[in-house]
Amino acid sequence: MEPDAALAVRAAAGDREAFGALVERHQAAVRRLTRAVTGDAHDADDAAQDAFLSALDRIDTYDASRPFGPWLMRIAANASIDLVRRRAVRRADALDERAPSRGRSPASDAEAAEIRAKLNAALAQLPERQRVAVTLFDVEGYSHAEIAAVLAVPEGTVRSDVFHARRTLRVALEAFGPGKQMEER
């Protein structure tokens, strides 16, 4: 698999295939982050697209000796925060309901939907930076230091953001029992 840095160099020269490979490789993580910030699937995809286009615009500034992911995530975080601020009116229950999983009882589907709704509502309560921090930490597996680099804030701030965000999410899910508690890292 061609490294991100090599693809970025080719993309900087206008190579469509290389840029497409970068998008394909990172789209899921970027879309998860933008969804955490925007709270809406469509807004998330708009922000994610903006992020990739913005990344292409400034790809000459990417330092190929450093990981591509955090550099891209910084752009994605800014793009999604910008979009949220542009569209001031947000829906608290924005996430569309997923198709019910096969083989599940209606009761468990209903409970899963309720958990998602609670979690989504809890995410929506968090400040934007905390949403980014907890998503990068708990979903994408970034370290505090990497998140600090992404958000351009001190590492201690990231630790605090992750701590407060997890506490808020944990409280939101307390009703669903200890099995749903957030795993410690």
Binding site: G14, V23, E24, L53, A99, L119, N120, D138, V139
Partner: protein
Amino acid sequence: MNDLLKRLLSPDDDGRAFTDAVLLRAAGALHRRRAAAGDTTRGLAWTWLEAWAHPWLIAAIIILALALALPVGRGAPSSAPATPTLAADLMGTSAGTSYVLAETLGN
């Protein structure tokens, strides 16, 4: 809960449509980048030509001009009087005239 959060945030699709949409929106920027990369290559070639070939080209032209000028200078008698040359011209003219006359008379 990490898994739950991941499931909550993960897109429902495989990302192909998203990738296509990004590539569609990026088509203009990618085209401009390709064009700029081509211009850069041409620019580099011209810079290289200016830096290396241009002085040599001027030098080559000067040397060629000197080489063409020198045989003319060697071949021409430097201290010959102007009269013989004039005489030779006259002779040439008269020879030509004689030839024309001979041809005319002959015909």
